[in-house]
């Protein structure tokens, strides 16, 4: 069975600085997607960034980028120029393709941004 591990329960970063959140996963599949979701206190899960496993190039969305190491089964999220609005829970998620395409989430990392 696939598993997703986030080993950092909580991280802090100074405003305008850079922070990296870690995620590892375990799977025997070769075709899958990986995601980072943000969950603010409003509880709504918001997609931050997505990576297709067959793509070697790391995904980037504005201040957010990933370091995808397929052989190591590692998928870290880098947030540059951190802003107060980035404070939230961040969840790493795996989605197998094909199949039911259900998301498997990690336990989350709480990010605090210090002014």
């Amino acid at each position: 069975a696939q598993t997703v591990t986030q080993s950092q329960p909580e991280m802090s970063v100074q405003e305008a600085e850079t922070v990296t959140l870690s995620c590892t996963y375990d799977t025997s599949e070769s075709d899958y997607y990986l995601f980072w979701y943000k969950q603010p206190p409003s509880r709504q899960m918001i997609l931050v960034i997505r990576q297709e496993a067959y793509k070697q190039q790391n995904a980037t969305e504005n201040r957010f980028s990933v370091n995808f190491q397929k052989a190591a089964k590692s998928f870290s999220l880098k947030i540059s120029d951190s802003q107060l609005g980035d404070a939230a829970m961040y969840f790493c998620a795996y989605r197998r393709t094909p199949g039911t395409y259900k998301y498997i989430f990690g336990t989350g990392t709480r990010l605090k941004v210090l002014a």
Binding site: V4, S42, R43, Q44, M45, I46, L47, R50, F91, A93, T97, P98, T100, Y101, K102, Y103, I104, F105, G106, T107, G108
Partner: protein, 113 residues
């Protein structure tokens, strides 16, 4: 574009009572998911619908949980009878099809006392 709507936002019930949650997905989205998020954990899939058919309910505690999606649009999730360990946030999500990105609602926070 309207998002995934869920109600109620909060619910407090006593153990052994029943409760129901409602979800209205984004218009046109064929796939609907219900996730359970226990405090301190990531969301866990309870059930996945494709139109009005069940695709995956392997982690749904079927002795007390039930879900339906009539006419392939709105969905309800019911718990009867509730246990203390059912206290969690229940998230509904929808996507155009199983491969497309899922959009989440704001969830219902259930407290069982």
């Amino acid at each position: 574009e309207a998002g995934v709507a869920q109600s109620p936002r909060y619910k407090i019930i006593e153990k052994r009572q029943s409760v129901a949650f409602w979800c209205n997905p984004i218009s046109g989205h064929a796939t609907l998911y219900w996730y359970q998020q226990i405090l301190g954990q990531g969301p866990k899939l309870l059930i996945q619908f494709q139109n009005n058919g069940v695709v995956d309910d392997s982690q749904l505690p079927k002795d007390r949980f039930s879900a339906e999606r009539l006419k392939g649009v709105d969905s309800t999730l019911k718990i009867q009878p509730a246990k203390l360990e059912d206290s969690a946030v229940y998230l509904c999500a929808s996507s155009l099809d199983p491969r497309a990105e899922a959009f989440f609602g704001q969830g219902t926070r259930l407290t069982v006392v």
